[in-house]
């Protein structure tokens, strides 16, 4: 990366439209993330229709800032009500809640915002340093490597996002199947369109996403399975945010370092995303702590490590998304979709043809995470008031946004139908333990996977060994095969272990 690129990107990021996008995205993410039951992915999904009318950088800045803030703000209901605001904050919700009881809301919430911002900044630095380097390496990639990378991303997402691999695969296959609707990527032949003009253009991922993440979540909120949000927020008293954070940083430097490094590494794996990082970081922190007996009683150490890994993973999840065009999780899948809509194709060529754009995108991460400090200050101060917003008012507003957002995709009611069907399917899937993230990843990556698969098959003239003919593609292929073999081996072993148990014990 040259100084000229850096200066040009800095100029773009400092434009009023980008700064406004970051600020409004952060405030929006703060409200959505702090409300129990409303996730960061839902926040991102609802933003997409708004990004239609924006330039690429402000659009991505809006997504980045809202996600970073929503994930961090998820700690507020987690700490005060013991209701995780986002899946990532579920990893340490008990610890944070105990900390509120023992040392007060000030410490628990300050740790959440301070170390999340710190982790996010480290993740963004990793992204800034490794992105161009990886892009240079991947310039030599052919359709074989991209096919294996897409497969690896989809495979790992299907495996880590649900309790049973078969269910994750079903979700993934559903996403890939929806992606096949429309004109075939290679021959241009209509496929599964059933004579519908609207289906000829394919199923837009935006209404599917709004339905699956927002509508289904709200439907689930009406059932007993949803977490009760009626609990009154505790009296937090007069709060002085960030007091004592310097002392904690000096006390647990290795926890911060390990958390951010772990988050950056896990987030960068294609298909894994940042959510998992918090769970692993908390577990590792407990395993290597000098005082593991304090965990679960409101101990700062695990909380620091998990929260810093959280946002670090969030930033580094953009490495595969920007460099290879292979999104790491649902949020980056949405962002990649938005970039495609804007005519920006993520991938190694982007770093060569237009290095300013990816650098500017990465810079928005710094801006979003830096903004976490001041906005976090106000969020901690007003945490109790944010939690007091009645759900009965917010949910109908979100539903109207769902309808309007789906309509605005093509200005047709077809999008609203898609949203409704996707919402009902998403609700059924979630209640039956089928993860939703692989559907979106499959939908976004489907055309990439198919195009590279067909191209590779044509190059190798149908010989599957062609997929192993190049060194990197061979390595990636072996990795994919090893993961598959290990999954099947584990499933068989679990099955045989169940067979040896008495029937009553299985039930």
């Amino acid at each position: 990366m040259t100084a000229a690129t850096f200066i040009a990107a800095f100029g773009i990021v400092m434009a009023p439209s980008v700064l406004l996008a970051v600020l409004s995205g952060s405030v929006y993410g703060l409200v959505i993330g702090a409300l129990p039951g409303l996730t960061a992915t839902m926040a991102t999904a609802l933003l997409v229709p708004v990004t239609f009318y924006m330039d690429p950088i402000p659009a991505v800045a809006l997504i980045v800032s809202s996600t970073a803030m929503a994930i961090t703000a998820g700690d507020i209901p987690g700490a005060l009500l013991r209701i995780p605001g986002t899946p990532a904050s579920a990893a340490y919700v008990d610890e944070a809640h105990q900390l509120v009881r023992t040392k007060g809301a000030e410490t628990a919430l300050s740790i959440g915002f301070f170390f999340s911002a710190l982790g996010g900044l480290v993740g963004a630095t990793v992204l800034l340093l490794t992105g161009p380097l990886l892009a240079r390496v991947s310039l030599n990639f052919s359709s074989f490597e991209f096919f294996w990378l897409a497969t690896l991303g989809l495979l790992t997402c299907a495996l880590v996002s649900g309790p049973a691999p078969a269910r994750g695969f079903v979700s993934l296959l559903l996403g890939l199947l929806i992606a096949t609707v429309g004109l075939d990527v290679t021959t241009g032949q209509p496929r599964f369109t059933f004579g519908s003009v609207e289906l000829t253009g394919g199923v837009s991922f935006i209404p599917v996403m709004i339905g699956m993440f927002a509508f289904s979540e709200i439907l689930r909120g009406f059932t007993t399975a949803a977490t009760s949000t009626d609990a009154a927020p505790p009296d937090t008293g007069r709060l002085r945010p960030y007091r004592g954070m310097g002392t904690l940083f000096r006390k647990y430097p290795f926890s911060v370092l390990r958390g951010t490094a772990l988050g950056a590494t896990i987030g960068a794996l294609p298909g894994v995303g940042g959510d998992l990082a918090a769970w692993i970081a908390y577990g590792i922190s407990r395993r290597f702590s000098r005082t593991p007996e304090k965990f679960g009683t409101g101990h700062e150490e695990g909380l620091i490590e998990a929260t810093s890994s959280n946002n670090s993973g969030l930033s580094s999840a953009w490495i595969p998304a920007l460099v290879f065009g292979i999104p790491g999780d649902a949020v980056t899948a949405i962002a990649v979709g938005v970039l495609y809509m804007k005519g920006v194709s993520p991938g190694p060529r982007l770093f060569v043809d237009d290095p300013v754009t990816p650098t500017a995108i990465i810079m928005t991460f710094f801006l979003a995470n830096l903004l976490l400090f001041p906005l976090g200050y106000f969020a901690i101060k007003s945490a109790r008031h944010i939690l007091s917003i009645p759900r009965a008012v917010i949910v109908p507003m979100i539903l109207v946004c769902c309808i309007l957002g789906s309509y605005a995709v093509n200005n047709t009611l077809f999008g609203v139908w898609i949203m409704l069907i996707a919402g009902l399917v998403g609700y059924l899937m979630e209640r039956n333990n089928f993860p939703i993230a692989p559907v979106i990843l499959g939908l976004v990556l489907g055309p990439v996977l198919e195009r590279n698969f067909i191209m590779s098959m044509q190059i190798s003239r149908g010989d599957l060994m062609g997929f192993f003919s190049r060194p990197i593609s061979c390595g990636l292929g072996i990795l994919v095969c090893a993961i598959l073999t290990l999954t099947i081996f584990n499933a068989v072993r679990r099955l045989s272990a169940q067979n040896t148990k008495p029937k009553g014990q299985i039930q």
Partner: protein, 155 residues
């Protein structure tokens, strides 16, 4: 609504088989060896395999075929869920005739009241939502939203 794997498994396998059958109908393009049918066929085969695995698991752990216990909630919650879902269908049907502003207002207000919001709060919040979204999307973002019955009232 929780379905037993004894239902979902066979349904998925059947769905996979249907995808394979539909893929065979995609006509081959002359000279193209790997055509439009290749990807859906692979997806169909994998769906059948996953469906069988899930069905086998379902038969090994028998649970009720259909569990609706999560909907044992106050009638107001069931009504709110029905309003949310059926309301969208009604909104689609009446979109051009009634217009977005009126539909958004009625949809949001009804749901707020069903979810237990105070009447005055609900009226103000739904009116505010409608006005912000309508003018935001139609005036700033230039989304052509029909005004329907309120055409004469709205400036």
């Amino acid at each position: 609504m929780i379905l037993s794997d004894r239902i979902t498994g066979p349904l998925l396998a059947l769905g996979g088989a249907a995808v394979i059958a539909a893929s065979t109908r995609l006509s081959a393009v002359p000279g193209v060896r790997f055509g439009a049918d290749r990807m859906p066929t692979i997806i169909g085969i994998l769906l059948v395999i996953c469906g069988v695995i899930i069905a086998v698991g379902g038969f090994r752990r028998p649970v009720p075929l259909l569990d609706l216990s999560e909907w044992e909630v106050p009638p107001r919650s069931v009504l709110a869920a029905l309003w949310s879902t059926l309301g969208v269908i009604v909104a689609i049907a009446l979109f051009r005739w009634a217009g977005f502003p009126l539909l958004a207002l009625v949809y949001a207000l009804g749901l707020m009241l069903l979810m237990g919001a105070r009447p005055m709060t609900a009226i103000l919040a739904s009116l505010g939502t409608m006005l912000v979204l309508f003018y935001g999307f139609s005036e700033i973002l230039h989304v052509p939203l029909p005004t329907g019955l309120l055409t004469a009232v709205l400036p």
